[in-house]
Point group: C2
Chain length 250, copies 2
């Protein structure tokens, strides 16, 4: 992925923090959304890790990934309950202190009456030293950014608002463009000419995704050509489309 | 997750191999299924990584995870096209050779006429030295198991068949049981008594999952108690249910 023109790309990893996803109780809805939005704006999502609500695991994932990618996003674990340990884990990963942040506390008070701002809710204003806040238009409790790590909520509606709030301030690369060509063929029947095209266009990324068409029960293949350069995308895409046509004519 | 009684547990990690998931084009459907099935049978899924179709990334993920967990499952990248590099990557991770396996070739011939078994399709019979095969009742091309690593297809229907084929031969622990209690309350209003219960039952795992109820637009909370011991589950679950009742009565 992006190997061919990786040097100029802006990259990201995502850490999903959540026992509930690993146990299968909750089906994650954030990975697909974040993957799409980052691709749209020209940030290449290169790796996702789903880890448990365990401090050592969160710290290890963040420290491994923040060295390797331009940005690391996290989702989950920033609420008011005992199992919300993301902010403390991020502070530990960076080796900095953490305390109630007056700016975050003021944001909470826009939504929560002062009498309801109990000790548990005040935990949502605990922000690692040196972090900037990521606003949350839905329920006010902010995310934050420290270094290249961006910490967001796990509730999809809130996460999406935070992502839109932070995207404008991030560095972007040339967006990866893509073109999908449907082949009414099993991938094994077109694999050889497809490989030849992939070798002819080494700077494009060509993927082959077989699926079973529920309408007629047959296995078909989506061929996806990706490139940052529109001329390259067109040339490689046309080559694939022509190959698919020829294969259909037998 | 499972920290309290982790010593007796059987653990797993999952590596999802797929550019198409990282680009957002395809929404993964395998993680949730595998998480549920492993939980059912008593294998704790502890980490998931989604990596690109890049050999170095696949090798690094497999080698990092196979040291740490009882089993590592992979999905994706075992088809006939140029971008299917999982089998070669796994062979490299284990430092073993790889070639067309006569058993796997025979399986392919149950489904594919010999004249259609072209060079591309024969790639699906390339199996690392020393691996055992995982049968595929859907389209025959097998997965495989080498050491504690189990390699499966990415197409959900085929992956599911392979998972069911391999599960009977795996070691299992005591299944993690769970009980979900719905609180018609924001989690910030019940966080303090919930923390007290979590501290009273350190061997249970108690999670709090806020969500917005689309029916009435209100934020509510699912409280999930998990334990391997049924008596512990009942005691901790009853404590949470009683707390939720008391909170509702104000």
């Amino acid at each position: 992925m992006g190997e061919a023109d990786g040097a100029q790309s802006v990259t990201a990893a995502l850490v999903v923090i959540g026992d509930e996803v690993l146990s299968g109780r909750t089906k994650d809805k954030n990975i697909g959304h974040i993957a799409e939005r980052l691709t749209d704006v020209g940030i290449d999502l290169r790796e996702v890790r789903i880890v448990a609500d365990v401090e050592d695991d969160i710290v290890a994932a963040i420290n491994a990934l923040r060295q390797r990618f331009t940005y690391v996003f996290t989702t989950g674990g920033i609420g008011p309950t005992h199992d919300d340990i993301t902010a403390d884990s991020v502070a530990k990963a960076f080796g900095v202190g953490i305390d109630v942040d007056p700016r975050a506390r003021a944001m909470l008070l826009e939504y929560i009456a002062e009498k309801d701002l109990n000790e548990a809710r005040l935990r949502m204003a605990r922000i690692p030293d040196g972090a900037s806040l990521v606003v949350n238009e839905v329920s006010r409790a902010p995310g934050f950014r420290i270094g290249n790590v961006i910490v967001m909520a796990g509730v999809p509606r809130i996460m999406q608002a935070m992502l839109e709030a932070v995207l404008p301030e991030l560095e972007k690369g040339r967006p990866m463009l893509s073109r999908t060509i449907l082949a009414e063929a099993k991938e094994g029947d077109i694999a050889a000419p497809l490989r030849a095209i992939a070798e002819r266009f080494p700077a494009a990324v060509i993927g082959s995704y077989p699926f079973r068409d529920e309408a007629d029960g047959r296995f078909k293949t989506n061929l996806v050509v990706r490139a940052r350069d529109v001329d390259l995308l067109e040339a490689a895409g046309d080559a694939v489309a022509q190959m698919v046509d020829e294969a259909a004519r037998g």
